[in-house]
């Protein structure tokens, strides 16, 4: 392993120290070592909490800040945070108007959030949830409740965060965050595996010269292993299942291209050039495109494509100001 670490069992805590040193205006420690909060959240708004396993940086902590999430629960690598951590995140976020917990559909996260929510009731903190299920490769549209949450979560945080920042009620924040998730269709492609430092060996394998379409954020197997040819072929393979998932034709969309950790950003742009052509051919208008490492999988090579169908309600929220590690806009 060629990694910049100390004890492989302590990588999460060691990384949190770095984030706290680097960005004191975005991150403040809390009573729980695995919970960080945005220090300047107004107390009279709906709180936005997220959380998940580590190894996806800048997710999840990179999405706390102004106009975004207020507190984050941080798990071990690829493993849900504890219920205690989610509970402390609910307490650390503004909670007088209730808390919206916006996270992805994974068994561990579901259980820990459920338990934390029950514990929060004893503190009289009202918590409602939206669970992202945007990965089209993880289950067919008819079984949407089984789908994993991937980079569409970024859209959910942005929309939910902007709605809370302008003073929307808890129910309204939840409605809009759910609408954002429902408007997203995503797919990933993996070109190489990744290694959890404490394990020391790759989590799975992708043969050289191959790519896995539909791969999950933890290396969950995709829908097809195919020869690795060109960026153009990858773009086509990614666009087909996404474009057939919802009726995007004639509508306006936001596009998010995220690297999985080890793919150069330059290559993400090579990929996007072909995706943009496909969208144009399909009669889809692109309102905005964001390209970079927004939701990664340690040092996996590959990328995800997320398409979000916009309307007059979602567009201003997506474009509203935000300041966080991963998304900052005026």
């Amino acid at each position: 392993m060629q990694r910049i670490i100390n004890d492989p069992d302590n990588v999460v805590d060691d990384a949190i120290k770095g984030y706290l040193h680097a960005s004191p205006s975005l991150f403040a420690a809390t009573d729980h070592s695995r919970v960080l909060k945005y220090p300047d959240s107004p107390s009279d708004k709906v709180g936005i909490v997220t959380g998940g396993g580590s190894g996806h940086e800048p997710a999840f902590l990179g999405y706390i800040g102004a106009g975004m999430c207020d507190a984050v629960a941080i798990g071990e690598i690829f493993s849900s945070p504890t219920a205690d951590a989610f509970l402390e995140a609910f307490r650390s976020a503004p909670h007088e108007q209730g808390v919206a917990c916006l996270y992805g559909n994974y068994a561990g996260d579901n259980m820990n959030v459920k338990m934390a929510k029950q514990m929060a009731e004893m503190d009289d903190i009202e918590v409602k949830t939206v669970i992202a299920r945007d990965d089209v490769a993880s289950a067919p549209a008819s079984e949407r409740d089984k789908r994993r949450g991937v980079a569409g979560e970024v859209m959910m945080w942005k929309i939910g965060g902007a709605a809370a920042a302008r003073g929307d009620s808890l129910d309204e924040v939840i409605r809009l965050a759910q609408k954002a998730v429902d408007a997203c269709s995503s797919i990933g492609v993996g070109l190489s595996s990744c290694t959890i430092p404490a394990n020391g060996k790759p989590n799975f394998s992708i043969e050289p010269g191959h790519m896995e379409l539909g791969i999950g954020h933890h290396g969950e197997p995709g829908i097809e292993v195919a020869p690795l040819t060109s960026a153009e072929a990858i773009a086509t393979a990614m666009c087909d299942p996404v474009l057939s998932d919802q009726d995007f034709a004639g509508s306006e969309v936001a596009v998010l291209i995220s690297g999985l950790g080890a793919t150069p950003v330059m290559e993400l742009n090579i990929l996007y050039a072909h995706i943009a052509e496909r969208l144009e051919d399909a009669g889809i208008r692109v309102h905005r495109t964001d390209i970079g490492n927004y939701f990664t999988s340690l040092e996996m090579m590959g990328a995800t494509l997320t398409l979000m169908k916009l309307d007059d309600e979602l567009k201003p929220l997506l474009d509203a100001p935000a300041r966080s590690l991963a998304i900052t806009q005026c």
Partner: protein, 217 residues
């Protein structure tokens, strides 16, 4: 009639900690075939922390299991924190005011753990998970008690049930957890949760049997 003196909580707990810590690498290896390969790491971390927190204390079985539950829920996260946490919490609740446990109380303790676990998870027998070990174990134990076996004999039925349950996961296709994404490819491998559950139940049976005594008349 044979009974377990419930004041031996810490000793029994320390033996449960030991079996998980001793099998840290084995559990991770089992998990590595179809999962993340971190089951042993996470379980050993949670159990070790619990062992350290109760060192030197005198605890009832209920208190010991309750401490294990809160430590697992508070320290290991993932799926195993809530699953094992609720299992042990359910067991702790059912033994709360008991100074001694007879064979029937012991069965009720296991059933109460299962009930708590099923409240937090939709997992079922056949999903390739720890319930595949837990449920047949509880049923075999209960059947043994109902058919008139004594505590020791029922504990042997429990051990057999745990092993058979664990082994049943070999041919199952995973329906939940990360291995579910593998579908057919998950066959031919044991489920790590079913393996750790088997280790724990067998050690619990051993620890209990070693401490059985004749009830005071």
């Amino acid at each position: 009639m044979q009974v377990l003196d419930a004041t031996h909580g810490r000793d029994i707990l320390e033996e449960l900690v030991e079996v998980i810590v001793d099998n840290r690498q084995y559990l991770s290896d089992v998990d590595g075939a179809i999962g993340d390969g971190d089951h042993g790491i996470n379980m050993a971390k949670g159990f070790r922390l619990c062992g350290e927190s109760v060192a030197g204390q005198s605890l009832s079985l209920s208190k010991a299991l309750g401490t294990l539950a809160t430590t697992l829920m508070g320290s290991i996260g993932g799926s195993m924190g809530p699953l094992y946490g609720s299992l042990f919490m359910g067991m702790a609740k059912s033994t709360k005011d008991k100074n001694v446990l007879d064979a029937k109380d012991f069965g009720e303790m296991l059933a109460s753990g299962r009930e708590a676990l099923e409240q937090i998870s939709d997992a079922k027998v056949g999903d390739k998970c720890l319930l595949d070990t837990l449920v047949p174990t509880i049923e075999r134990y209960r059947d043994a008690v109902e058919s008139g076996d004594d505590f020791s004999q029922a504990l042997q039925a429990l051990r057999n049930g745990a092993q058979d349950g664990r082994d049943s996961t070999l041919d199952l296709e995973a329906k939940i957890g990360r291995a579910a994404r593998l579908g057919e490819r998950s066959r031919g491998h044991l489920d790590a949760g079913a393996v750790s559950c088997c280790l724990l139940l067998i050690r619990l049976a051993d620890s209990t049997e070693n401490r059985l005594e004749k009830a005071a008349a």
